[in-house]
């Protein structure tokens, strides 16, 4: 049975309203300050470090993102941690909030499809995240200019911009996950806890578990054990499993994009490095090529989660 009328009617109205809600909410304030403060703390330390050690590096600016100074982790690892938190914070009560406020049936009795409501909520979350990330990005560039006194090269700007895009894709994935759980669970607290649990599992536990599982699935050949070398088959499994976690994917893309010297992600054979100038930077296009599958996986994951949420939402009863 075909339904008639556009699924996008009302999309603009929903997006604007949700965006206004996000930008004026207290929750957003808290998340913004959390991110800005941690980021600034990390940056100040990093800038000190960069000044001291790598003044000769042609990609000084990118070091701002990747360099860590004890005890604080690097700027990107902080972001890898905080972006999901922010995305989950924006999405965990997207749909069940409407249910619990009993506004859902009234809104859906207006001439719009559920598509517009869900899409509008996702877009508003994504735009909010994009605004925050752009601001943060400008803050890093600005602080870098002020405190390092070196302007970034075109390639550095492009690479850091690529970082911005990747970070947004990563944020989108967690936003889609949070919205999915907000559809599945009627209680916002359950939805938030489940999404946070999944995030902690995939970010903290999974990287630790995947080698063990890989070992169980494909035990290393005794020959390799004898040589005290890793078995390539086991390694492939290990990496494949680890990449089920979005944070692994995000980390890998960043390694390629923010560090021009990265030639490969994962194990490579010695002969593959023949003729390579180890440590010399790759052009941006080549770095992007390395990270391309990971970036596509992040976006694909976002779409899959959104579609699952969409299907569940379409089948859900409206009545409270």
């Amino acid at each position: 049975m075909r339904r008639e009328g556009s699924p996008f009617s009302g999309l603009g109205a929903v997006t604007t309203k949700e965006l206004a809600d996000h930008l004026s909410s207290a929750r957003m304030r808290v998340l913004e300050w959390l991110i800005v403060l941690t980021a600034v703390a990390a940056l100040i330390g990093t800038i000190q470090q960069v000044r001291d050690t790598v003044s000769e590096d042609p990609f000084v600016f990118l070091k701002l993102f990747t360099e860590a100074r004890q005890p604080l982790p690097s700027f990107v690892s902080i972001l890898a941690f905080l972006i999901p938190l922010m995305a989950i914070g924006l999405g965990f009560d997207a749909v069940n909030g409407e249910h619990n406020r009993r506004t859902l049936s009234r809104v859906l009795s207006q001439p719009i499809y559920r598509d517009a409501l869900l899409m509008g909520k996702f877009l508003a979350g994504l735009i909010t995240l994009a605004i925050s990330l752009v601001v943060l990005w400008l803050l890093v560039i600005g602080l870098g200019l002020l405190l390092l006194g070196v302007p970034p090269s075109t390639e550095e700007v492009l690479r850091s911009f690529a970082f911005l895009v990747v970070a947004l894709a990563y944020a989108g994935l967690w936003l889609a996950a949070a919205i999915l759980f907000s559809i599945v669970f009627r209680s916002p607290a359950t939805a938030a806890l489940t999404t946070l649990g999944l995030w902690l599992f995939l970010t903290v536990l999974w990287p630790a578990l995947s080698p063990g599982i890989a070992y169980a699935i494909s035990p290393p050949h005794p020959l390799y054990q004898l040589l005290n070398q890793p078995d390539p088959d086991t390694l492939v499994w290990e990496q494949g499993l680890a990449r089920l976690s979005p944070s692994t994917l995000f980390g890998e893309v960043l390694r390629a994009v923010l560090n021009p010297a990265t030639r490969a992600i994962g194990p490579i054979f010695l002969e593959q490095l023949e003729g390579a100038l180890i440590g010399s930077p790759l052009p941006l296009a080549q770095s992007l090529l390395i990270a391309w599958p990971q970036l596509v996986s992040l976006i694909a994951g976002t779409i899959v989660l959104f579609v699952v949420g969409y299907v569940v939402f379409q089948r859900q009863e409206v009545r409270a």
């Binding site: 339904r3 009328g5 604007t16 009993r102 009234r106 499809y113």
Partner: protein, 317 residues
């Protein structure tokens, strides 16, 4: 008159349980139609199917000649819906809430502002237009919900339990506004479990029980059907042998003396004029003449007592 809402054999099943079980009814244009019955009888499910908000398992429903499952946007563009205990975004003001729904309706800015102002005045909320809805009483929220329907210039208004949880005065106000809708030629379909309150405004009613329509018709039709005679006329008059004379009035089924010179007659229509004639014709003195219109509560209770045998008395309120 052509039917604005028409349901034929409409059925909704959740797994094995039927929420709505093969109901058929039609609502004519400009009519106020009541879906009455206890909670869980299938009223809200029926309403949601009319709006295309839940799938129809079997049968069909047409609203303004459109299929809500196929053309929900057109249906929802012409039908206003006031959900059971309607809610708004508490942090937004009344005007902001209406502005959001107006944008969802696709009204342009000028139209939006004009209509919001006009309708808020009509439901007497103009002075609190810029207060957050969180501070509103239940009655005010219901009125704001009505304003939303008015703003849509809906041809059909579907009101789910519009009076539940309202105090008597707020109920009266709301019922007045519902009558006002009718006078603007809006077809109204309302559901309620509070029978006596909505009886006053409904042209016709359908009594729901366990997913089926048990009875359908005007209140007096139902009364005739269920109570046998729907009208109880109280007569207070002096005179000889009045009881026998009153008994022969056509349509009167029984006359009993309830006191000195007091009689209670049961009839299938309002027999006050005939009763007055009889008393005066017999040379009696007529002191008082009053009629109890049949109450839906009585009809309802009697009907389900008949259905369930004598034992179970349903709580209709």
């Amino acid at each position: 008159m052509n039917a604005v809402i028409e349901a034929r054999n409409l059925t909704k099943r959740y797994g094995d349980a039927s929420a709505v079980d093969g109901i058929s009814f039609s609502v004519a244009g400009g009519e106020i139609f009541g879906l009455l019955g206890p909670n869980g009888a299938g009223k809200t499910t029926t309403i949601l199917m009319m709006l295309g908000l839940t799938d129809v398992t079997d049968g069909e429903v047409r609203v303004l000649g459109l299929d809500p499952a196929r053309e929900p946007l057109k249906v929802k563009g012409h039908v206003g819906y006031l959900p059971d205990s309607v809610s708004f975004y508490d942090n937004m003001t009344a005007a902001e809430n209406l502005a959001y729904t107006a944008r969802l309706m696709g009204l342009d800015r000028a139209e939006r502002e004009a209509r919001i102002k006009e309708e808020l005045e009509r439901v007497q909320l103009a002075d609190v237009a810029n207060k957050p809805v969180g501070t509103f009483s239940r009655g005010m929220r219901q009125r704001l919900g009505l304003a939303e329907i008015l703003m849509k210039k809906a041809e059909v208004a579907i009101l789910d339990e519009p009076t539940s949880g309202l105090d008597p005065q707020a109920t009266e106000e709301l019922l007045g506004m519902i009558r006002d809708l009718k006078s603007h030629n809006v077809t109204v379909l309302l559901s309620s479990h509070l029978l006596d309150r909505v009886q006053k405004v409904c042209d016709r009613v359908a009594l729901f029980q366990a997913g089926k329509i048990a009875l359908i018709g005007t209140v007096s039709e139902l009364a005739r059907q269920v109570l046998g005679s729907g009208f109880a006329v109280e007569v207070e008059a002096e005179g000889a042998g009045l009881a026998e004379k009153l008994r022969v009035i056509p349509g009167v089924s029984s006359v009993e003396a309830t006191g000195v010179n007091r009689f209670r007659m049961l009839a299938d229509r309002d027999v006050r004029p005939e009763a007055a004639n009889v008393v005066v014709g017999a040379g009696g003195k007529l002191r008082q003449l009053s009629v109890d219109e049949p109450s839906l509560d009585a009809i309802y209770n009697r009907f389900f007592q008949k259905q369930n045998g004598a034992g179970e008395v349903r709580d209709a309120a």
